[in-house]
């Protein structure tokens, strides 16, 4: 066979069989082209489309399953976004309620208060402190009382320009002179364990009942008188000691504290 070059005509190599097939195929094609509206051709097409539709339904079922998977992924992502947004809105609403309560508390409080956010809290067992976002620039000084709308939180332990460290009532080294609000019996509040404090140095014959409210005493040089500290939960009278064993539960929920106040004019007192 001679080598074909670009200039040579390839149609010279076409066989009769190929020409014949071409002519027959073209003829059939033209018959269909010109008989498009013929009822038999229409019927033939309907049959083919029907068969194809049956097969296509199966294919599109798989396709729709894939689409549904994608839609499901999209919806899941959207649901997650909405959940997150909802959670943020709830958080904002709760924060709003807290801040409103604090504002109300600040307005009706007899003290000069500086409000503060809790930046961090220590997780150590014996040292229970909060890091606050106020410092000397806001008028905060060491040993100033820290309170929440519910009651006493602790006192300022250390202070810097813009932050301060507050020692909680639940710290093992915390001490406060307190009294039973009803009977005016004085004692020293110390932290014991868990969420329990003890009012010590209370004589055995003192008038103390379960449910009595414990407030800060005028004996304290740091805390203004009358700030609620906790409630008497349990009283033990032992013949071997001269004092009562009084269990006090603080009123402040220290686990959920997010905003507190520092009393910057501590020498006032709440009328009891």
């Amino acid at each position: 066979m001679k080598e074909l070059r670009f200039t040579q005509n390839p149609f010279l190599t076409v066989t009769r069989q190929e020409y014949f097939t071409l002519l027959v195929s073209l003829a059939i094609s033209f018959v269909f082209l010109f008989a498009n509206h013929n009822p038999q051709v229409e019927r033939l097409r309907t049959l083919v489309i029907g068969a194809w539709g049956y097969g296509l339904r199966t294919i599109t079922w798989f396709q729709s399953m894939q689409d549904m998977q994608e839609e499901l992924s999209r919806l899941r992502a959207r649901a997650t976004r909405l959940l997150l947004e909802n959670s943020q809105l709830r958080e904002a609403a709760l924060e709003n309620a807290r801040l409103r309560a604090m504002l109300e508390f600040k307005q009706r409080s007899a003290f000069d208060l500086v409000s503060s956010r809790v930046l961090a809290r220590s997780a150590e067992h014996f040292v229970k402190t909060l890091t606050l976002d106020v410092g000397t620039r806001h008028g905060v000084q060491k040993n100033m009382p820290v309170i929440a709308p519910a009651g006493l939180v602790g006192k300022i332990l250390a202070v810097s320009g813009n932050t301060s460290e507050a020692q909680l009532v639940l710290d093992h080294n915390f001490r406060a002179a307190c009294k039973i609000q009803r009977s005016r019996i004085n004692g020293i509040l110390v932290y014991e364990d868990g969420r329990t404090c003890r009012l010590t140095q209370v004589p055995k014959n003192a008038d103390v009942k379960i449910g009595d409210v414990v407030v800060t005493s005028e004996m304290s040089g740091l805390f203004p008188t009358g700030i609620i500290v906790g409630v008497v939960k349990k009283i033990k009278r032992s013949s071997s000691t001269l004092f009562l064993d009084i269990e006090v539960e603080p009123v402040v929920d220290f686990d959920t504290l997010e905003e507190v106040f520092v009393i910057i004019s501590p020498h006032q007192s709440i009328a009891n």
Binding site: F11, T13, V14, E18, S25, I28, V48, I49, I59
Partner: protein, 157 residues
């Protein structure tokens, strides 16, 4: 045995063409996988086999896609004939001529098909060529190149 293989191949190509490829359309231009199959068949089994297959496949494609019957049949038959003729002695042709012939086949198919399909659309020749036929041929050529690299022995062997 080969008839069964090619029947399976074209069934898959038809489904791929009708179901999958429309997702890859660019400005309504879709490459033609069935045409690539027919060229492949013409190269390996000769023009006669390709033309007969083109007639059958064209009929089904016309029926499935609800265009008027005979348009794909005619276009595929002509393209298969050209493929059988032009690529018969492809081993003797340079790469450039092979590519040119391939493009002529693809372009002829597109031109015939769109001419028939758009008889009542009042399109001028420039639109027919530059808006539809040429982009269609080029897009299919891209698919040929992809097929060439996907096939273990390439498109020509």
């Amino acid at each position: 045995m080969k008839i069964v293989q090619y029947t399976g191949l074209f069934a898959v190509l038809l489904i791929f063409q009708i179901v999958v490829l429309p997702f890859f359309s660019v400005f309504d231009i879709v490459p033609d996988a069935v045409l690539i199959g027919l060229i492949y068949l013409a190269i390996h089994q000769g023009g006669v086999a390709a033309m007969l297959t083109a007639l059958a496949v064209g009929f089904f494609r016309d029926a499935f896609t609800s265009h008027f019957l005979g348009a794909y049949m005619l276009s595929y038959v002509v393209a298969s004939f050209l493929a059988g003729v032009l690529l018969k002695f492809r081993e003797k042709l340079s790469f450039q001529i092979q590519s040119m012939y391939l493009f002529i086949i693809l372009f002829s198919f597109q031109l015939i098909y769109y001419s028939l399909f758009m008889l009542d659309q009042k399109l001028n020749l420039a639109q027919l060529i530059f808006r539809f036929s040429l982009p269609g041929a080029l897009y299919t050529l891209v698919l040929v190149v992809i097929t060439h690299f996907l096939l273990p022995r390439g498109f020509w062997r």
